[in-house]
């Protein structure tokens, strides 16, 4: 019975890799393999590459200073943070908000099987995210640290136990989120605020990391002694990774005991939490006259309400807004310093191009349009039975993306133009290129949102987070940035950045027009035929 549930859980997570939702048939094994390779490559070369660089920076120095445990402690904490960051909200919605909870609870299935199957999905996601840090840490240590039977054993246990720690922390935080959710009314916004604070802290640490790493390497012995004295548990944690037997046994037993405790708590509270209703406004409806709106405005409001009612949607699809706001503020405060640094790099020829490169990266991280069609889900019938065209429906989704990415972009564009005030042509060319990117990315996402959208999801995380419709436009957006940015840098060095950016703006507009024409005709027809 458990294996049936497990199969269902994993099928749901990786459904789009095995099944084509358009014709509801299985994909060929070749295309499944290709999709898994793309996903694996993104994890290994994207996140994995970043943590490999961190491991390489730390390993040899800490090993030679005799602080191997500190190396594993730092990377273990980083991996745990990464894993929890990647799976805490999916734990809450996957465990307590899954749409088939009622169905499964009505069946003669022991509750512990349902929980175990759900947790297996959470564990897998945690393992994937934490593995992007623990696996490079382990591999780098074997090469630049120590290679022995116990260092291999310790490293392997480290990889496994960190993933269990991630599971424990995700469950604890997910449980807290579930408890809070039952009390809160505007929980989507509160969740977003907490998450943004968390992300802010994460990036503060990230940007300070190099400074801290250098200080750590220079004073490894001193810091090691201080940490060991103040947090002996952390010392044991790091020692376990190096393969020191006693700490490894203590660490393993501690993690096992913590996992058992978490299991005990979840098993006892699962039914109550999963079947409780969230706090609902006790206010009775009071009749009032509302202003009549047009169909376009009503559809846009519906899309906006859909976005603001879901913390998952806001966090995953509006992430770039945070970067853009932070970058705009930073530029207004210390923009001249940044321009001086960039001018030094390229003699001033490529300053605007590099700024656009960073802008592209951030704007491509705003993606409300990509999951918007799939998010219609079982509500698809509502707008389709109304006297509005499919183009109008798609346009409202596009407008939301334009409003959010445009709203977040304008202060940043203004900030860049302000810091480039001494070279107004460059500033104007940057503004034109940046503004032309906003509709291009929005339309590109709409294009992908219509590629076999999965309307039969049971958790909204599937269309928002775990779908090709979201991943492909994000990665291809970065690819477009890399290609056009690279071309601008190569040619801009000789011609000056302004000319290249003007050409790029023209190219973006042409591509946008082509995509818009596609959306109006073929895209609308595709939506009709879903």
């Amino acid at each position: 019975m458990f294996w049936v549930l497990l199969k269902k859980q994993f099928t749901e997570i990786f459904k789009s890799y095995f099944y084509n939702p358009k014709n509801n048939t299985g994909r060929s094994s070749k295309s499944t393999v290709v999709m898994f390779i793309i996903f694996g490559a993104a994890m290994v070369f994207g996140l994995g590459g970043m943590f490999t660089a961190l491991a390489l920076a730390l390993c040899a120095s800490l090993h030679s200073a005799g602080a191997d445990w500190l190396y594993y402690a730092i990377l273990g904490l980083t991996a745990s943070a990464m894993g929890v960051f990647g799976s805490v909200f999916s734990t809450y919605s996957g465990l307590y908000l899954a749409k088939d909870n009622d169905l499964l609870l009505s069946m003669p299935i022991p509750v512990k099987y349902i929980i175990a199957a759900r947790l297996s999905g959470v564990y897998l996601m945690g393992l994937i995210y934490s593995g992007t840090a623990t696996v490079p840490a382990f591999a780098v240590y074997l090469i630049f640290g120590s290679f022995s039977f116990w260092s291999v054993t310790g490293g392997l246990m480290f990889v496994l136990l960190i993933s269990v720690i991630v599971l424990i922390l995700s469950c604890m935080l997910g449980w807290i989120v579930a408890k809070i959710s039952l009390k809160l009314k505007n929980k989507s916004f509160i969740t977003v605020i907490i998450s943004v604070l968390f992300i802010g802290g994460y990036y503060f640490v990230y940007f300070k990391a190099r400074e801290w790493i250098n200080a750590l390497i220079e004073n490894a012995a001193e810091y090691g002694a201080k940490i060991k004295g103040a947090a002996y548990g952390l010392y044991l944690f790091g020692q376990a990774g190096t393969g020191n037997r006693l700490p490894l046994i203590i660490f393993t037993l501690s993690v096992t005991a913590a996992a058992a405790l978490v299991w005990f708590i979840i098993e006892r509270s699962f039914i109550k939490t999963a079947t409780s209703s969230a706090a609902v406004s006790g206010k009775a409806y009071r009749e009032k006259t509302v202003k009549m709106r047009g169909a376009g405005s009503a559809l846009f409001s519906k899309e906006l309400k859909r976005f603001t009612s879901s913390a998952n949607y806001m966090l995953n699809s509006g992430f770039g807004c945070i970067f853009m706001a932070a970058a705009a503020v930073a530029l207004f405060i210390k923009g001249d310093l940044a321009v001086t640094a960039l001018n030094g790099f390229s003699g001033g020829r490529l300053t605007a191009v590099i700024a656009l490169f960073a802008f592209c990266f951030m704007v491509s991280m705003i993606g409300t349009a990509a999951p918007s069609v799939a998010l219609e889900g079982k509500n698809y019938w509502i707008t389709r039975s109304m006297p509005v065209s499919s183009y109008q429906i798609l346009l409202s989704k596009l407008q939301l993306q334009l409003a959010i990415s445009g709203g977040a972009s304008l202060p940043l564009i203004a900030a860049v133009v302000f810091v480039l005030r001494k070279t107004p042509f460059e500033g104007a060319a940057f503004a034109a290129a940046a503004l032309s990117l906003i509709p291009l990315y929005a339309l590109w996402q709409m294009f992908w949102s219509l590629k076999n959208p999965n309307l039969n999801w049971t958790s909204e995380l599937i269309p928002i987070k775990q779908s090709m419709n979201v991943a492909v436009p994000l990665f291809t957006g970065w690819g477009y940035t890399a290609v056009t940015g690279g071309a601008c840098m190569l040619t801009g060095y000789f011609t000056g950045g302004a000319i290249c950016l003007a050409f790029l703006a023209a190219l973006n507009l042409i591509l946008s027009l082509l995509l818009w024409n596609w959306l109006k005709n073929k895209g609308a027809a595709k939506y009709d035929a879903l």
Binding site: S277, V280, S281, A284, K302, I382, S385
Partner: protein, 235 residues
């Protein structure tokens, strides 16, 4: 009001609806019955302009659903078998969304919402999110949204499922009200007693094909509708 001509819809190799022809005139309550998977929902969705089809034609108030879908949809309302509504909206926001799309003016919508929501006894709950509604409350909200713009044709898939007896009675009265003002109702049901008492005409579909249709007296003759249906199913 609704004219379905030689409708054919296939899923892969399977014909869900096969050459179906029906004509629903103003003032008629037309019942649509058949076993599970017979093609009722497919037909209703095609008539409401939700589902595309390969062959045939559907006209609503003289307009083709293929060539003038928006004109057709202005005249109709659809209620699905399972009321999957926007969980992220409150009841009143959902109704206002419908009213905006169908262009119901402020005063008229205020009166209609008050009249219908109080009749279904959910007026006080309209400020609550739909996610907090029971199945029956969602069904009532779907019915109110369908009646909000006083459509000429209402297409309903199993509309009585989940409704309490009082709400069912009210819905039947409302269906007669639509016909009294010259509109028409086309609905599917598995409750043959309801169809027998409520419908002016009935159509029986089996494996996508229309096997009998006409006035209630023509279809059942001297037998009950249940007996006729079971006989036809057995053939």
């Amino acid at each position: 009001m609704l004219k379905i001509e030689n409708l054919t819809k296939t899923y892969g190799d399977k014909k869900a609806v096969d050459g179906l022809t029906l004509n629903i005139a103003p003032g008629e309550i037309y019942g649509f019955i058949g076993h599970n998977g017979a093609g009722k929902t497919t037909t209703l969705k095609a008539a409401a302009g939700i589902l595309q089809f390969e062959q045939g034609e559907i006209y609503v108030c003289g307009n083709s659903i293929k060539t003038a879908p928006l004109e057709c949809k202005k005249h109709l309302a659809y209620i699905p078998d399972n009321p999957d509504l926007y969980d992220f909206m409150t009841g009143i926001k959902y109704l206002n969304f419908f009213a905006d799309i169908f262009g119901v003016d402020a005063e008229q919508r205020k009166n209609r919402i008050h009249e219908l929501a109080s009749a279904f006894e959910i007026e006080a709950d309209l400020a609550k999110p739909i996610s907090a509604y029971s199945h029956g409350m969602k069904q009532k909200l779907a019915i109110i949204s369908a009646w909000l713009h006083t459509p000429d044709l209402i297409i309903m898939d199993e509309p009585f499922v989940g409704l309490d007896p009082k709400a069912s009675h009210l819905l039947k009265e409302m269906m007669h009200g639509v016909c009294d003002r010259g509109g028409a109702i086309f609905f599917s049901t598995h409750v043959l007693e309801v169809a027998e008492k409520l419908c002016d005409k009935v159509a029986i579909i089996k494996q996508g094909k229309l096997i009998r249709s006409g006035t209630m007296d023509e279809v059942r003759g001297d037998e009950s509708l249940e007996e006729v249906f079971l006989d036809l199913e057995a053939d």
